[in-house]
């Protein structure tokens, strides 16, 4: 039920006012432009398709509320990065608690994503495992970089200094490399 609740909460906010057509239209454009980046980051950071869908949905609904109140961000992509990474961190925490009470969800920890099967790439599976061994902020930083964000943009979105982000990214890349070497050695 956890996946349903946020939508209802957000919809209730929307229900207080009308949604002008230009908001709906610009939301459609923003969705088409950024949804695969937001969902990709959420899916690869959480490894949970339901959680990722939930985060993506809520990030865009929050964007709609912002636009509706005349607070539409100048840089929609940057805003969505910030909103979705905050949601990922809070939801991942909540999901970790939920998992303690629902052991069957651990099944999701096996790399059975259809796109992995399609790729037929064993190392891709290794990468997902290795990524899962990193902290959430490490994962988000690496995925933002993979989606084309520059070091300076990642620093801005994470709210960290340039130097701190540089250290974070270098460490994250090294941890990922170490985990990959370890996994490949085990084969």
């Amino acid at each position: 039920m956890d996946a349903i609740k946020p939508l209802v909460e957000t919809a209730a906010v929307v229900a207080d006012g009308s949604v002008p057509a230009h908001v709906a239209a610009s939301l459609a454009v923003a969705y088409d432009r950024h949804a695969s980046a937001v969902y990709g980051m959420a899916l690869r950071s959480t490894r949970d398709p339901e959680l990722a869908a939930d985060v993506t949905q809520e990030a865009f609904l929050r964007l709609m509320v912002e636009v509706q109140h005349g607070r539409g961000p100048d840089n929609v992509g940057a805003w969505l990065y910030r909103a979705s990474s905050n949601l990922i961190v809070s939801r991942a925490r909540r999901a970790a608690v939920a998992r303690r009470f629902a052991p069957r969800l651990l099944r999701r920890d096996t790399p059975d994503q259809p796109e992995d099967v399609a790729l037929g790439n064993e190392r891709q599976g290794h990468l997902e495992y290795a990524l899962a061994s990193l902290s959430v902020s490490d994962r988000i930083a690496l995925l933002m970089a993979a989606q084309g964000a520059t070091g300076a943009e990642i620093a801005a979105h994470l709210g960290r200094s340039h130097g701190a982000t540089r250290t974070l990214l270098v460490r994250a890349r090294r941890r990922l490399r170490d985990a990959m070497v370890e996994r490949e050695a085990r084969r």
Binding site: A21, D32, Q57, A146
Partner: protein
Amino acid sequence: MTNHAAFERLVATGLDFSLDTHDAADVEEHLATCSACRATAAGYQADAARLRAIAFVDPPDRVRAAVLGAAARPRPGGWTPLKLLLAAALLLAALAGTTVAVGTLLRLVAAPISPVQWSAVPSEDAFVQDNGTLRLERVAASGDRFVAIGSGSTGAQVVISGDGRAWDRAVDGGAFGSAIVFDVFGDGAGFTIVGSSSGRPTIWTSPDGSRWTATSLGESAGELRSVAAHGGLAVAVGSQSTGDSAGRADLAGAAWHATDGTWQLATVLGATAPGELTEVTWTGREFLAIDGSSVYGSTDGAVWRRVSTGLPGGATRLVADGGSILAAGLDGGSPAIWTSLDGVAWSAAHLPPGARGRVAAVASHSGSAVAVGSGPSGVAAWSSTDGSTWLSSGPIEDSDGGVMLDLAWSDNGVVAVGSVGPRAAVWSGQDTSP
């Protein structure tokens, strides 16, 4: 003594930040002689490449439907707690997978004869932008040339083609810098692109699509969303700041007009703030523009008056060709097209029922109209002979998860542009109309 750990750190740093020339030279020199560090560097690069390969994933279609469904104009009476509960219940049902095979039904009723058969153009270097996302959003033709424009994660992209299959970046692509581009228009005089540069409304013109000249329209904040021209009169619409603040809240719908290349601000009667005019077209009698809820008309481009509030919400494109005027977009998460004879009274056209997605663009050619957009599983196209009744053109190969955003006819044929995943995509159409 060589510090391999320090070189490893520099290699990892170089993936996200530029190294200074001294460090870069040191790394290069060390890698030339140290096979262990070369292997480590290759590992870092392979990790980065694999991350890029999994970084973009299209969300399930139900997410799009939920987001755009919530954004659809509220029904009369608005949302009630009961309707909210109903929406939650419907979402639960969707999550449980109790959906019907709408796609199968649609294919069964697909048009027996479609005026255009689409096929994906093999991906080109011009369709990829620095490992980031790129989509081509608009395309226009002038003579035997196409110009397509797009937005990527690192800025605007302008690509040109003669035959619609081989594409190159515009020679003067640098003229766009970090600009945002929204529309491209082509006629006998060449091409015009509109958008914003440094937050100001900006127009770029080119005789051939290759070399571009930029013109900024004034000092106020704003952006241009659409451009059209007829008989030597060009009009552009968008938004302009009404106050001193740089926020979007004080942007109001605005229009500009030019007869000799000198652009002047027009008067738009009835435009509301915040708002923007998103689309403009020449109908054969006058220019019409929309702001999502109202339709504005002008014969001289200098004065615009509101002619209708009857266009349903969700209309994002406007086209006209002789007789009727067509508006396209989405209605409650489903693709929608509306028709009008005068821009005042609008009626909904008939599309195959039950589909999710949107109509992104419509064009008419040789007596039949073609629409493109997105459907439940990716790219979708429709066709019509009267503008009122539309049939699905059936599945398009290699286009799962993609979207077609615009189409244009040149002397050489028809192309559609859009994206599949993070990459820009182009489809070439074979005209099969008699």
